[in-house]
Assembly symmetry: C2
Homo-oligomer: 333 residues x 2
């Protein structure tokens, strides 16, 4: 193991001077710096992260908590967060779990393993969130928003995104529509549902509660929901799903029922995950600005770590309707 002491010996200086060169301190004579730099290369030195962290109290490592969800949106979010963290010279430790196991991340803050946490799938009242708040640990919520919680939060404007879908349906003559929801109480779900209802209202329409099917965020639920909706006396001619995963379930169900999309039924999702644009799905959906969201999340967290008393912000990024083959993408006659 090579230490800064070895480098010092090689350069004929004290260990403190090596440290100063490493810290880019200005108080080093240029020729001394050069000698140290040479020795540094020669011995192949890498600073011991723990010794450094113990002195500085900073680890340059961020924790990410992500539940074991099946929605392919989350791996995409993880990729975007990973890029943003890497751009900010931060490492990421990942907790792929939910419930009490999330507490590992809070413990890691106490143990100085990480400087802060990004929660991606946390719910109101979850133990890890409560602990993080109680410990005044630096954290940010991304994708999920909890109203009234004084902390940094980043999400897309789910309400407006869903509202645009409702208007799109109404303006193309659909007056019997359905909504496939996931778990109530989760912000993405609730905001998209209420945005959709608001959009209908804009167009002078309402929706019956039996036309809104609730369940979990799985492909299987999407399939079952389609069956339920089609069994109504007046089945919908257009269905909005609060995420793309549910929409694929609806498309699967439509195939099973012999329904032709979009001729018999329009389907719109939310998220625009990569596979939505595959020709076999060709799903109209609402695109989130993932990279912007990830960048803002990391920025807010680093600012919070630097100054724990700054005012919390909630950032909303606009999302945009992407029209594809699961709805009629030609202008109405």
């Amino acid at each position: 193991m090579v230490t800064s002491r070895d480098v010092a010996r090689g350069a004929g200086v004290s260990q403190a001077t090596v440290s100063r060169v490493l810290q880019n301190s200005t108080h080093v004579r240029p020729e001394t710096r050069a000698r140290v730099l040479t020795a540094l290369k020669e011995v192949g030195y890498t600073p011991n992260a723990h010794a450094r962290a113990m002195r500085t109290g900073r680890t340059s490592t961020i924790g990410i908590v992500m539940g074991r969800v099946t929605n392919p949106f989350y791996p995409e979010l993880l990729g975007a967060l990973g890029q943003a963290l890497s751009d900010a010279s931060q490492r990421m430790i990942l907790w792929l779990s939910e419930g009490p196991a999330e507490l590992g991340a809070v413990e890691a803050i106490h143990g100085h393993t990480i400087d802060g946490v990004i929660f991606t799938t946390v719910r109101e009242g979850s133990v890890a969130l409560e602990e993080a708040i109680a410990a005044k640990a630096p954290f940010v919520l991304v994708n999920r928003v909890i109203e009234g919680l004084r902390c940094d939060q980043v999400a897309s404007d789910n309400f407006e995104g869903a509202r645009a879908v409702a208007r799109y349906f109404a303006q193309h003559g659909h007056d019997s529509v359905g909504v496939v929801c996931g778990v109530p109480g989760i912000s993405t779900n609730d905001e998209r549902l209420s945005g959709f209802i608001a959009g209908l209202k804009d167009e002078g329409q309402t929706i019956k509660s039996r036309n809104i099917v609730t369940g979990d965020f799985t492909h299987a639920h999407g399939m079952r929901a389609l069956a339920k909706l089609m069994a109504l006396k007046v089945p919908p001619t257009a269905i909005f799903c609060v995420n793309d995963l549910l929409a694929f379930g609806v498309l699967s169900g439509a195939g099973l029922h012999g329904l032709n999309v979009p001729a018999d039924l329009w389907v719109v999702g939310y998220d625009d995950i990569a596979m939505s644009s595959w020709h076999c799905h060709d799903l109209s959906t609402v695109k989130q600005r993932l990279d912007d969201m990830a960048g803002a999340t990391v920025e807010l967290l680093l600012a919070r770590i630097a100054d724990r008393d700054r005012n919390p912000t909630t950032l909303r990024f606009p999302s945009q309707l992407a029209i594809r083959g699961s709805t009629d993408n030609k202008p109405t006659g």
Copy 2:
């Protein structure tokens, strides 16, 4: 910040005794231990991970290097590895990048940030791999295998898995088949291709090189490959894709060409990722034993960290053909 010194003060013992209780040392009187345990709860103590790591030289943290691939198989592999690491009380630091950025993981070993690395998408001759070998760093390859490299490697038996597909095709009367490959030189690709060819040979068949289409591991390539294969003078009646992602591309292409699967064309993938069993795909594929592979990977890496001189092992897990609607799953007349 609460330290073991604070706990010691609370329990009226020395800091060393607190440390002994934390280490489950036997040389502590039961009533002393009880006093320390009480104080531990009272002050809400979490050990400083860096101080501990600096003393012990161990971090209980493993690095994972995963390229920014679009194949949903990798998030699933990550989930399995995360579970296996968590079961072994290890944290994971993730590098979602390829090429020179992978070097971050090797540097992290030098800096004692992690105890070892799991490479998931590494290629022969990649800089990070070369560096890890040169540094004698503890690492394991999972999913990818590099022949002749003396290190621990874990993969499924790609050769036999693909061989079974070829036999399945031949035994159901297909005598014009196609293969959609990804990038040559990557073990999953090469082993599955040669296994498939071997299976044909078992049945007295051969395949023309123009019936094998090479490209990258993307949905788009699968689509283009289908078009190429269908343009042949004798188009295949069954196509094997070296992974599910490519198979979805082929299914997309089939839809575009108005081909009926499985009536006009059989399609088989490899990996059995979650979405393969969705009704809208209903893809026959070869299932990998992901959890077993992940468990073995972690086990091998921890053994390697404990003993750097042990003999390297390459572990192969059998995979199994899962027959679904993209091939005729009824017995032939």
